[in-house]
Every structure is written in structure tokens, then in C-alpha cells.
């Protein structure tokens, strides 16, 4: 830019060095840090921030020419370069942008137009793919997966809308690598060779594949944990979960909450598969229980990575303990539990029972989302540590402005993940998060940490006795969740 002062040769050398460092973080941080979890979480904060700012500028420059929506967004915000982290906040996009397509395109199966819509959000252009033969979400997304670097992630919300997040396969691999690197190693120790290179049994009582996270997770766990060896890759349902059926289920739930299930705007061919979905849902819990029991028998004493719903692990563990069994897998196994369904409270002795039976110190929890590659893992001091290539912003709920990066702050979480390969990587979430910026975490990690209690912004904003006769989203979403629970 014309107004900047010409930097001296020394400054230029430093700039180049930091740019090179930023590029390594952006392109393959795990390799760059030797897959060393302790090193990754022990970097000084000021150095991390310097790399982050550099990466932001590099990414912005590069991606705005590749992602049309970002270009428009950056122009609208009038930002082409930042010098401080906070200046970057206006460039974080609301997560709803990934469901901003007109829903009739989906109902009418106009996948070519959906491709056009998608093409504005990713650097991998899907518009060259011939989707004229596609007759379902599954067939459309499979075609894109086969013919482009994309592996689009779907999710269905309580409103019945299906969101499409144009992740790439590389994004998924980074995502899974972030779990493996952080979960397989103990903080404070060097990685053992097996932590990085060995095949680890991945045990997932869900689907083997799918475009929704419950399926895609297992697919890439098979690559990253099991290293593609089918003997190490264990799923309960050895088929792909259908995004079409998930969308149908979400639409039916939303329609039921509105009092008319006949008004479900989905293709009739899909509606005909309703019974298939209902049957699958009905049989699921029993099959999952049988699966976990089978795994216990088959993989006794081996190192496993189990990713499951907590209540399922609990049921298995409880019965196992009653039968006098315990400690079934190798002690360096990892158990990651997912939250229970709303309205199904988790038992008080959940962690105790699971840890005792499975011979492990603690249940692992992680915080992450489809729109971000990097998962944050809960430490022994109950904080989710954010990987250094992710910048966290807390935004004021009222103004949307970034809150100070010191003291204890609570606000709407927003992230910039510089490792994002396909999409922009800057996202504003619906989560309400607290960070203590000043107090170092007792676990020893220097990385920024989110406190364990994470709420939805809508929960924090709702209530407090403001009664209105107009159907506000808060009130209705709450009513809807109340009516529909959280299944599927």
C-alpha cells in the first residue's frame, strides 16, 4: 500500500520468517510441530498472536480471490489488512450463511443451482460437476466428493433446515488429526512413537460413513486412527447414514411442532422412506449396546479410541461392573463421551462407573463444530484448550464488538481457524463462552482456554420475564425443543 513506510531490510527478513512460520501453521501444523501435543500447547501467547495476525493477512489476501462471498464481505466491511486481532472480528461470518440457500432448491432437487450457491462459499468450485442425474442429497454430495476435493458436511437443525458446509477432505483429516494428536498423548510428555504412527482401534457405535457429522466422523477416524485398516476400524452400523433421511426427520419434527405433519416440503420419493428411518431409530439402542459388548470381548487389553454417547458407555459399564468385570481395554485407551439427549439426564455416577469399568482416569470431552477443523480438548482442570492456530474472539452479545482480551470475559464465541482448507475459516457461533485471559491454567498448557460451562446464546438471552405476544424465535425454539426433544 502506498501509505506504508518502506520497511528496512532487517524488518523484511523478520517478516519473511514469520510469514514462513505462519504458512507452516496454516498448511500442516501437526507435521510442523512433530505431532507433539505438549509443544503445541506450550507456546508463548505473544508469539502465537504474532503468527496468527500474519496468517490472517495471508489468508485474507489469498482466499478473497478464491471465495466470492468472502470478497464481497471484505469489501462491505472495508477491511483488506489487519494489525491487531480485534480488527479481524468484522470478517467472521455468521454460521447461518451455510444455510442461506432458498430451501425450495432442495425440495425441487435443483442441485445445479445449489452448486452455484455452494461455489460462493468455498475455494473448490463444484459448478463443473454434472449433477443432472442426482436425485437426492446423498447422490449429489457423493458426486461432489468423488469429483472434487470437497466433502460437504450436512446438519439438520430443529427448524428443519439442512445446512451445507463445504468442507474438504483435507479439512476432515486435520480435524481428526487434531483429536489424535491431543488425545493419544499425555500433556507434559513426549509422544511415544506408537502415539503417532501405530494403528489404534477406533470404536464408534455409530455409522461408518455419511455426509452428516455422525457418519463422517467415523469415516475419517478410520483413516487417521485405524490408518485405513478395516481390522482396526469398528462401527456399529456398517453403512452410510443418509442425509436425506436426516433431513426428512428434521422436517417432520419441525412440522409436528407446528401442528401439521402433512405440510412437509420434501420430495415424495423421500417421504416414502419415512418408515425406514423410524425403524432404524427404533432398533438403534439395542444394536449399539450389543456392538459395544462385542467390542469388549474382541478388543480386550488393546489400545482403543472410543467415541460414543456417554449414556451408552454408562449402560455397558454398569452391567459389566455388576457382572464383576472391569478394566477391559489397555490403560492408554481413550474414551470420549458425547452429551446426552435433552430431557435425558445423565446419571450422577456416570464418570465414576465408566472410568472404573474401562480402566481409565477420566472421560474425555472435546469442544468443536463442523465449521472448524480444530477440536479443543478438556484438560484435567476442566478447561477446553484451543489449538494455537485458532484465534478465539468473544463478542459482546449486544453490540457484536470484540470483548477485551484480558480479565474474565463471557460472550458469544467466534473463531478463526487458519488451517481451514476449503472455506474461509472465520465463523461466529451461537455459543456463549467464558474465558479467563489472565490466569494460567493449572494443567500447564499456555494455550487459550474456554471454561467448561458452555451455553447457547439463545439460552442466555431468553427468559427474564420479558413477555411478548409476538412469536419470538427464542420462545418458539424453546417450545420446539421442548416438544421435539433432541433425537436423531
Amino acid at each position: 500500500m502506498a501509505t506504508t513506510v518502506e520497511p528496512g531490510p532487517r524488518a523484511a527478513a523478520t517478516d519473511n520468517a514469520i510469514e514462513r512460520e505462519a504458512e507452516r501453521w496454516m498448511n500442516n501444523p501437526y507435521e510442523h510441530f512433530g505431532y507433539h501435543n505438549t509443544r503445541i500447547h506450550s507456546l508463548p501467547r505473544d508469539e502465537v498472536e504474532a503468527v496468527q495476525i500474519t496468517a490472517m493477512n495471508l489468508r485474507l489476501e489469498e482466499r478473497r480471490s478464491q471465495i466470492k462471498m468472502l470478497e464481497k464481505f471484505a469489501v462491505a466491511q472495508g477491511i483488506s489488512r489487519v494489525d491487531r486481532l480485534d480488527e479481524f472480528a468484522p470478517l467472521l461470518m455468521p454460521h447461518d450463511v451455510y444455510k442461506s440457500y432458498p430451501v425450495s432448491l432442495l425440495a425441487k432437487q435443483k442441485f445445479d443451482q445449489l452448486n452455484t450457491w455452494l461455489s460462493r462459499l468455498t475455494r473448490y468450485d463444484p459448478t463443473g460437476v454434472d449433477v443432472s442425474e442426482c436425485d437426492s442429497i446423498d447422490s449429489w454430495l457423493t458426486k461432489l466428493r468423488d469429483e472434487t476435493p470437497l466433502d460437504v458436511a450436512t446438519s439438520s437443525g430443529s427448524s428443519g433446515t439442512c445446512s451445507f458446509f463445504p468442507k474438504s477432505k483435507q479439512d476432515y483429516r486435520f480435524s481428526m488429526m487434531s483429536l489424535r494428536t491431543q488425545l493419544a498423548q499425555k500433556f507434559g510428555q513426549d509422544p511415544r512413537p506408537g502415539d503417532v504412527d501405530d494403528k489404534i482401534h477406533a470404536v464408534i457405535p455409530l455409522y461408518r460413513d455419511g455426509h452428516a457429522s455422525t457418519g463422517a466422523f467415523a469415516k475419517y477416524a478410520g483413516e487417521i486412527f485405524a490408518k485405513g485398516d478395516p481390522d482396526y476400524w469398528h462401527t456399529c452400523f456398517n453403512f452410510k447414514i443418509s442425509s436425506d433421511l436426516m433431513w426428512l426427520a428434521a422436517r417432520l419434527r419441525a412440522a409436528a411442532a407446528k401442528g401439521d405433519t402433512s405440510k412437509v416440503d420434501v420430495p415424495p420419493s423421500l417421504l416414502a422412506r419415512r418408515a425406514e428411518w423410524e425403524q432404524a431409530q427404533k432398533d438403534m439402542p439395542a444394536q449399539q449396546l450389543a456392538f459395544v459388548n462385542q467390542m469388549i470381548e474382541k478388543l480386550q487389553g488393546q489400545r482403543v479410541f472410543v467415541m460414543s454417547m456417554s449414556n451408552l458407555l454408562y449402560a455397558v459399564a454398569k452391567r459389566g461392573l455388576d457382572e464383576g468385570m472391569s478394566g477391559v481395554f489397555a490403560p492408554d485407551s481413550v474414551f470420549m463421551g458425547g452429551g446426552g439427549a435433552k430431557g435425558v439426564p445423565l446419571p450422577d455416577d456416570l464418570e465414576e462407573v465408566i472410568c472404573k469399568f474401562f480402566n481409565t482416569d477420566r472421560m474425555i470431552a472435546s469442544y468443536g463444530m463442523t465449521e472448524m477443523n480444530s477440536m479443543s480438548v478438556l484438560c484435567d482442570h476442566d478447561q477446553y484448550h484451543v489449538l494455537p492456530w485458532v484465534t478465539v474472539f468473544l463478542l459482546d452479545l449486544e453490540s457484536g464488538q470484540p470483548l477485551p482480551r484480558h480479565g474474565v470475559q463471557s460472550g458469544r464465541a467466534a473463531f478463526f481457524d487458519m488451517t481451514q482448507d476449503s472455506t474461509w475459516g472465520g465463523i461466529v457461533t451461537g455459543d456463549f463462552v467464558t474465558i479467563d485471559w489472565d490466569t494460567p491454567c493449572g494443567c500447564g498448557r499456555t494455550s487459550v482456554a474456554l471454561q467448561k460451562k458452555i451455553n447457547r446464546v439463545s439460552e442466555v438471552q431468553g427468559g427474564d420475564d420479558k413477555i411478548t405476544c409476538a412469536a419470538t424465535p427464542g420462545a418458539q425454539a424453546e417450545a420446539m425443543e421442548f416438544l421435539t426433544g433432541l433425537e436423531g
Partner: protein
């Protein structure tokens, strides 16, 4: 004296301003003081249903006289309580100063005798409130009378008129009225009640009103009050937000009258866009229905379906209508609508995103937080249609009326129709789909008032207890004189 706002409790002719504790203050709201509800909890409900007797020493005309006199005392310029309430309400209300000033200025008109008389007669029938209305049917003389009930009202706070309306409804039905005021309007109803105390502290209507603030969901308090020996009905506005705390107390002996949260829409026929003059009129009509009161009411339109077709020509026309609608909104007077108090930042970011999706949407305005018109290019409403507020309306093109009817559901209250040729089919089919009120587009706020049905029910008829008295007419044979085959036990 403290300068902090007080939400006064007014219990049966007594103003309570002691034991004040602090409320509110969440999410940037102001805090206010109110009497500790736990200290006054026992005085909120009526001690015994027998104490309703005094209301029957009054005639309907006496009640009207009382209300008319109250109306006279509710002129803002002469009423210090209302002035104070208005001043504080600027901070709590979802709307702006000019709109709130308008609401308060217009309050006396609600108490006009003829207006009330008309409303009550249309709704319940004054005769039924005054006496036994008798009629012969099936060999009996049947008398029907509407009795007042002990009702707890959980009122909405998005318009300050709802407290006044509740006072009025309670008085004319000879009810015992408890009003739990909301945190978005904690001052207005108390000011009206204080005016009543000054005017006639011992009058039965004054004595049968209790106004207080407590935090909705205060279980210790609510489990004491919400008992069948204290109240017979709960009238809750706002659906889930208010009802979620209440449902656990619903039991035989307590009836719930739920005025659910609603949203409203408009339907425009293709011919409304045929000439520039028609287009202009349509734009004015849409603006009146979505912008009035800054779109805080349930009856404010949020989506307008236009049968202009989804071809290129149709979309171009709709874009023009969008611009005209935006201009019409800006022309409306300040007492009806202003730049919103605070444009929801989340909504703003969604609208801004759509501005970038110009393949599928055209956004007119909205860059200055003043409100916006979003024109869809396909027959889809925006993904965040449930969040449309702060003068943001979505114009949606459709090819057929059926597509519009498909989106009318039980959450749909008002449907504005233009031109009138659409009314017959829209109101019939719309009612089947769940719509509850059909108006001429542009007249959602310019009608007869809440004179009868609301949200598909008749709240005033629900607020009274319908009592029946039966006497045999000459010729009805007593069972003890009947032969076996003459006896018929029928319901």
C-alpha cells in the same frame, strides 16, 4: 426518596412501596425496585371467593361510570403517576419514545363508555353479566349468567396498553384480577392502579385488583399463589415464555387461557401490481402493517406473499414494490413507527449476509439500522423468517395461492389481504390451515380493536364463569311419577 424506578405493587386499594428489592438488569436492561413479593405474597390473592359479593352491588352502568372517570384521570398531562411510568418505560419498552408517547396519550380513549359498552355487548352480551338470561329449551326454563372469576393475568409487555386492557376486562366481567406485570413493562399497570386508589380506594373495582411484579418462575411464591383456593383461571400471554412456569400448577380447578405467541403475514394478488398507482397503494398498505409499533406486536406483518409469479418479470415487479414499500415505511408518521430503538445485531448480520447473496435476494435499506425490505427471488421466505423484527419485512413471490396457504399455520394470527377479491378464499382456506384474523392489508392496526375473538378464542368469554340455572316447565313429569318406559336419561 430514591430516584430509581419502582414497580409499585398495588394490592386491593393499597399502594405498597416498602421492602423494596432489586430486579432486572440482565443483558443490559435497567434495574428497578419492587416490593419483595414474598412479603406481600399472602395479600395478592383474594382471601375468599365470598368476597366477590360486593361486585354484585354494582350495576354494569356503575362499572362504566367508574371506568369513564378513571379514563378522565388517565390524561397523561394531568397524571403524575403515568408521567413517571412513561419516563421509566422508555428504558424497558421495546419501542421508542414517540411510539410510547402515542400509546400513553391514547390511553383515555380505551375507557370511553360507548366503546366499552359496544365491546362487552358484542363479546359477552351485557344482559348475561347483569342478570339471568332465561330461555325455554327441551321442556325446561334455562337461565344463563356470566359470573366473574378470580383470574391471574400474566400479561405481555410489548405494548403498554395490555395492562389497561386487562384492568378493563376484569372490571366489566366483575372479576377479581391479579396482574403479574412483565419486566418489559413493569411500570404502566401500577400507575393505572395507583390512579384508581386515589380516585376511589374503597370501590369494589379498586378492591378487586392486585398488581405486582415478581420474577416469573419464582417457585416459592408461585406455588403459594397458583392454587385452586386462590384463583380459578390463569390468563397467560406470550405462550411458552410465560406458560412454561405455569403449566406445573395447572390442575383441576385452575383453567389456563393461553394467548400463544403469534406472527402475522400478508397476501397480495397479482393485480395489485398492475398499475403504478396500485403498486403505490400496495406499498403503503404493506408499510402500515409491518412497520406500525416498530413490528413488536404479534399482529405486525413479517412476511408478505405476492402472487406476481416467479418468472423474471414477476421478480422485477417485486423488486420495484420492495423499494416502494421501503419508501412508504419512511413516510409513516412518528407516532406509528420510527427507526427501531435497537436493531437486533444478529438480525443485522443475517440481513447483511443476504445483501451479499444477490442471486437469491434483494435487500432494500437496512444499512443504517432503520429497517429493511428483503425481496426473495424464489418462492422461499428467508431462512431466519422467525427472527424478522425491527421493521424488517420479507416480500416473497409465488405463482399460486396454494403456496401461500401452505405457510399459514397455528402460529399465524393476522393475515392482511389485498385486493378484496381474495378475501373469500383466503379467509376460508386460511382458517382451515390455522389463520385466526383476516383483515384488509393496511388495516391490521386500524380496525375495531380487540372486540371479540383473539387468536382463535374469545378471551372475554373465557374470563367469566358461565352458570346455568334450570327449572322444569309445566308438563315435565317427575321421575317418581314416571313409568319405567317413560324414563330417559340423556346428556
Amino acid at each position: 426518596m430514591t430516584s430509581r424506578p419502582i414497580s409499585y405493587a398495588v394490592l386491593r386499594g393499597q399502594v405498597i412501596e416498602t421492602d423494596l428489592i432489586e430486579f432486572g438488569g440482565r443483558g443490559g436492561d435497567i434495574t428497578f425496585l419492587a416490593p419483595d413479593p414474598h412479603k406481600i405474597g399472602d395479600r395478592i390473592p383474594l382471601a375468599s371467593p365470598r368476597l366477590m359479593e360486593d361486585l354484585y352491588e354494582l350495576s354494569f352502568e356503575d362499572i362504566l361510570d367508574y371506568l369513564a372517570e378513571l379514563g378522565e384521570r388517565l390524561h397523561l398531562k394531568d397524571n403524575a403517576y403515568l408521567q413517571e411510568a412513561l419516563e421509566y418505560s422508555y428504558a424497558t419498552a421495546p419501542t421508542t419514545k414517540p411510539i410510547m408517547d402515542g400509546f400513553f396519550h391514547d390511553m383515555p380513549f380505551m375507557f370511553d363508555k360507548e366503546r366499552i359498552r359496544g365491546m362487552v355487548d358484542f363479546n359477552i352480551g351485557i344482559d348475561y353479566l347483569e342478570s339471568w338470561v332465561e330461555k325455554a329449551i327441551n321442556g325446561s326454563k334455562v337461565g344463563i349468567r356470566a359470573y366473574g372469576a378470580r383470574t391471574l393475568h400474566i400479561v405481555a409487555g410489548n405494548g403498554p396498553v395490555l395492562g389497561a386492557l386487562t384492568v378493563l376486562r376484569g372490571a366489566v366481567t366483575r372479576g377479581d384480577t391479579i396482574i403479574k406485570v412483565p419486566s418489559n413493562d413493569p411500570f404502566t399497570t401500577g400507575a393505572i392502579a395507583r390512579t384508581m386508589v386515589d380516585m376511589a380506594p374503597d370501590h369494589p373495582v379498586t378492591k378487586h385488583l392486585a398488581v405486582a411484579y415478581w420474577r416469573g418462575g419464582d417457585e416459592a411464591l408461585e406455588s403459594r399463589i397458583y392454587q385452586p383456593h386462590n384463583i380459578e383461571k390463569i390468563c397467560a400471554w406470550g405462550g411458552f415464555a410465560s406458560v412454561k412456569h405455569v403449566t406445573k400448577y395447572i390442575q383441576p380447578g385452575i383453567e389456563l387461557i393461553s394467548l400463544d405467541p403469534k406472527r402475522s403475514a400478508g397476501i397480495v394478488g397479482g393485480e395489485a401490481l398492475e398499475t403504478p398507482e396500485m403498486m403505490e397503494e400496495t406499498a403503503n398498505r404493506i408499510a402500515c402493517d409491518f412497520a406500525t409499533g416498530n413490528q413488536t406486536a404479534c399482529s405486525a406483518a413479517r412476511m408478505i406473499y405476492v402472487m406476481c409469479g416467479t418468472d423474471e418479470e414477476g421478480i422485477e415487479k417485486l423488486k420495484t414494490l420492495g423499494q416502494l414499500t421501503y419508501d412508504a415505511m419512511l413516510r409513516l408518521p412518528q407516532v406509528l413507527t420510527t427507526k427501531p430503538k435497537r436493531y437486533n445485531p444478529e438480525l443485522k448480520s443475517q440481513v447483511d449476509m443476504l445483501r451479499l447473496s444477490d442471486d437469491f435476494y434483494t435487500v432494500v435499506g437496512g444499512e443504517d439500522d432503520e429497517g429493511a425490505v428483503i425481496v426473495s427471488h424464489t418462492s422461499d421466505r428467508v431462512d431466519f423468517w422467525e427472527y424478522l423484527a425491527d421493521r424488517t419485512v420479507n416480500l416473497i413471490p409465488v405463482d399460486t395461492l396454494d403456496e401461500v396457504l401452505d405457510v399459514i399455520d397455528a402460529y399465524t394470527q393476522t393475515v392482511g389481504v389485498f385486493p378484496e377479491s381474495l378475501r373469500e378464499v383466503v379467509r376460508h382456506k386460511g382458517a382451515l390451515f390455522g389463520g385466526q384474523r383476516f383483515v384488509s392489508l393496511g388495516y391490521a392496526f386500524n380496525g375495531p380493536g380487540l372486540v371479540g375473538p383473539q387468536d382463535g378464542i374469545e378471551p372475554m368469554r373465557r374470563l367469566v364463569k358461565w352458570i346455568i340455572s334450570e327449572e322444569p316447565l309445566p308438563g315435565r313429569k317427575p321421575f317418581w311419577e314416571c313409568a319405567d318406559e317413560e324414563i330417559a336419561l340423556v346428556a
